[in-house]
Symmetry: C2
Subunit: 216 residues, 2 copies
DNA sequence: GTTAAAATGTACGAACTAGTCCGTTTTCGC
DNA sequence: GCGAAAACGGACTAGTTCGTACATTTTAAC
């Protein structure tokens, strides 16, 4: 959501299309993540942006178009960071631990992303299906994981015959759930899930769970 | 959602309060699970029930009251079945495998339950917080797990020092994610997640993941 | 049988909500 | 500078959505 395009319009300029676009996206992201697609109100988003409601329709066509753009931006961001993890220098075990730990941390720190994905799943991923960028955006994560796994098998530290999609799914599920189900889970079991201690503790459990699954 | 109260009104009777109540709950459950709280329409639910919209407000006060009742019923049902699993006769390893497998199966077969919990989490569990029944409804699952774990440690097949809430969380997360994120995950990775084969395969991975985590 | 309470049906309204109409201002190529 | 296109603002509307006012029927207690 940051550092990719001019944050300020050229001096002496009142029109700033890209800034307007990004401002709308930022506000809409927060609003959709907070209230869901149906719960979010276009008027509410309009009231919070620096420009007028008219601009939402000008740039994104309609409420659904806006949501699709929000989703694309959110996925693009996590994959962008993931690619920069640079796991090549690490041993397979360390690399897998790092990747798992990153996933857990990223999702914990970006509850908006998690909540947007929840919302999209409630809507059976119809918006996501409409976006061609999506698949190409997400192949990288499997490539990174495949690399690490192959090295681990070759070195004899991981057992053979595991599907990397399963590893990714386990990793994602454990990280995702910690945010997505935080409200109900902590309400039911009176469990602290937000303090730094709880975060570190659970992070360790998740990493260990993944490592134990692939270990020989 | 079934077999607990007279399904038919007494013969020669036109009024059937309990039947009306259950009819509304069943329809509302499907509707909220499908569209979410904000997305569901009271008028739509009203159109599908055997009685009139007036009755929704008569029995449940308002849309929120209806949703709370739907949630309570959904949680009560899973815990009811869970208690009847009868794991005492099994070895600790078999019992834990059985409990994990059950959780996975139940959530797979009851997507409505999973989706309702997602919806409630989007709303920060405000409805759930309002229900006192909730906590008492859910303690049983931890007791069952605690029993199995203690036996496993005593017999030397499980390592010591694990928090059972962590085991439950892992178990739930892996089972939950398989349903909650099915739409986005299968759209992004083009992965079959619904066929009987995919179900059995993933079930095995989940059970193994949990067992390997507690193993010595 | 009478009567109060419980259970039910119908029509309607006030508030909200997504999206548009109509117009103005700013930018930029020539 | 000029004209066309891009960028923008504000008021308005058609349709929807939750909830209720008003009225009726059924049940159960005495």
């Amino acid at each position: 959501m940051d550092h990719q395009l001019p944050a300020q319009p050229a001096p002496g300029r009142t029109h700033d299309p890209e800034g307007v676009r990004r401002n709308i996206l930022a506000i809409a992201t927060a609003e959709f993540a907070e209230k869901g697609f149906s719960g979010a109100r276009v008027d509410e988003i309009a009231a919070k942006i620096n420009t007028s409601k008219r601009m939402i329709y000008y740039y994104f066509k309609d409420k659904e178009g806006l949501f699709v753009a929000v989703l694309e931006e959110a996925y693009a961001r996590i994959r962008r960071i993931e690619r920069d993890l640079n796991l090549d220098g690490l041993s397979p075990v360390d690399a897998l631990a790092r990747l798992t730990g990153f996933t857990f941390e990223y999702q914990s720190e970006n509850a908006d992303f998690v909540r947007l994905v929840m919302v999209e799943n409630i809507h059976h991923a119809v918006h996501l299906a409409r976006s061609e960028r999506m698949q190409s955006l997400n192949v990288s994560v499997l490539q990174v994981l495949e690399d690490v796994y192959r090295r681990g098998v070759a070195e004899g530290v991981f057992r053979d015959g595991i599907d990397v999609v399963d590893i990714h799914m386990t990793m994602s599920a454990l990280s995702f759930f910690n945010v997505s189900n935080r409200a109900t889970f902590s309400a039911i079991f009176k469990r602290d899930m937000v303090s730094p201690e709880a975060f570190t503790r659970r992070r360790q459990v998740v990493v260990e769970t993944v490592l134990r699954y692939v270990a020989r």
